[in-house]
Symmetry: C2
Subunit: 334 residues, 2 copies
């Protein structure tokens, strides 16, 4: 297995985090994979409630929980000492510990000892699996859709998850393929493509969406942006390794510069479509753009439909906001 693979069901660890935005990872898992969640572990009554049954480590162990997943983002990236005791208790009970922090879990001696004693794994979802191959460029059976973007952080993961859900609801075979840490926690497997060594990016993308049935869709979470000054290389490797039949361009209404790079103007949606078609043709000459997915939350509610209609007309493609209009129009175009 060259992909990270997590043991379910999950116990979502919230700690004493009271701020909803910092518990976004846990929230995402509950939103998209409620069926993988056995319960939540909160260290205080004020901590965020994800709507799951509260569970102690002992209860989780009896319930057959496979992984304790740290569902909070940590400023500074390290684990507060009071949390370590609880994680160590779970590891001693044989429950895997899963996190996506800068600090490697195994570098915390108490945790490493507990995992060894309990036979649990410490899984850092930012650490790629070993022995990834170099990309072959060979066509694989199965259909693939990749979400790309004018920038980072504008809905590539959300759009892919929504399309997976819609495809399944329509009776199609479909799997979300996670290329980033939060996506991997949600899907229970994947490859953190931006953490892979340069020579293996497209090979990792090939591993991420392996051979499948001819009518099966892999819906692959995009990363970065093909015009991004920092992350374009990641996007390029993910694109040619994914060899998508179809792609959706994600955008955030009103964004005009690359987020965090104020000197870099955002590329146009048309530029992203053209460049993605050019590069993607290397491994799939049949690649086509099937839609535009926009986060319109910055626009007044009354203007969103008109904005999307204008965009759709301009590019001759369905333009949706998955949160506001759903993504059905893109599905119809598949």
């Amino acid at each position: 297995m060259q992909r990270i693979a997590l043991n379910t069901p999950y116990l979502i660890f919230v700690g004493d985090e009271t701020r909803v935005t910092y518990a976004k990872t846990g929230r995402g898992i509950v939103d998209w994979r409620r069926e993988h969640c056995a319960g939540q572990l909160r260290l205080s009554g004020e901590a965020c409630d994800l709507g799951l049954p509260d569970m102690s480590v002992a209860e989780a162990s009896s319930a057959g929980v496979g992984s304790l997943v740290v569902g909070t983002a940590l400023v500074g990236g390290s684990i507060p000492p009071p949390w370590v005791a609880t994680l160590a208790e779970a590891a001693r009970a044989g429950i895997d510990i899963v996190a996506g922090l800068h600090t490697q879990l195994a570098s915390i001696p108490e945790l490493a000892a507990a995992a060894a004693a309990g036979g649990a794994r410490l899984v850092d979802v930012r650490t790629p699996p070993p022995d990834l191959p170099v990309g072959t460029g060979k066509k694989r059976p199965g259909k693939r859709l990749l979400t790309v973007g004018t920038d980072c952080a504008l809905g590539k993961k959300y759009t892919a998850l929504q399309l997976e859900q819609d495809l399944r609801a329509a009776g199609a075979k479909a799997d979300f393929r996670a290329s980033g840490q939060t996506g991997i926690m949600i899907a229970g497997e994947g490859v953190p493509i931006d953490c892979v060594v340069a020579d293996f990016i497209s090979g990792a993308a090939e591993v991420l969406s392996p051979d499948n049935e001819p009518d099966h869709w892999d819906v692959i979470e995009g990363q970065g942006g093909i015009f991004h000054p920092g992350y374009a290389a990641v996007s390029h490797g993910l694109l040619i390794g994914s060899q998508p039949d179809a792609f959706v361009v994600c955008h955030a209404a009103g964004r005009e510069q690359v987020e965090g790079w104020p000197h870099m103007p955002l590329p146009g949606i048309g530029d992203v479509i053209e460049r993605t078609l050019q590069i993607g043709a290397l491994t799939n000459p049949g690649i086509r753009c099937v839609g535009i997915s926009v986060n319109t939350s910055t626009l007044p509610e009354g203007e969103r439909r008109e904005y999307l209609a204008r965009l759709g007309k301009r590019y001759g493609l369905p333009a949706v906001d998955p949160l506001f209009t759903g993504a059905a129009a893109i599905l119809d175009n598949l």
Copy 2:
């Protein structure tokens, strides 16, 4: 310092390698940086002679040698036990050990102990420096030329070194910038760009060719190929991080498939020029192609000049074989 930086002068270690092709790294260092080479260390009289004075470790130590550089490629990538004793002797004498092998030098206990005792560094030129930044995309002062290619292994390093030499001979300020392991050993510094984590490729390229005087040329060694199914992502990140004013396309006469990827046809030189211009414009809208550099060694000697003339006419660019015609025609076009 975010680049690997080696201590000179070098003692080139040849071991008992008798096959010239396997001593190519040592050969390259002598060819391009004779002034950095104090001597060679051969473990048998039959070993390749690089034309340097033979030196023992004791002699090298008295001569003030900074690094013992393993100048041979090893099938399997690990160091034969009889060699380890000599490397350990050098490390104990305070001489850095430099190699580009799959085996990490520090993983050999005898060598790790010797280096600690002698205060020597064990430098793996395939290990990128820590704390590389994410690419900014900001324009840096100084001029830059990047060698790109229709494929791997067709002269991108050689062409860059030749252009550095010619620029210097013409009185210009120029530095070869090494992006691969052999190049780093030759230049004495650089960043192994293909070993960098995906998110930091363009940032590593920015570090590789930092701010410089307005009339100074960085001649940057290219990697991979922008149409390569395995390594295109590396080429993309190196291109936008290098923000070259000028690039040279390298090619091997007669090659028709990607080497090692027999199912992938080689891209045309024109395709590589067009795609490099498109992608490179992100960080340097003034980017232009200044020449074509071809390894014509597979052609009969009598046909080479005509082949180059035909190519040059077709693309409206100087076409050279640095080994056969020199690279002066490209310099004239800079």
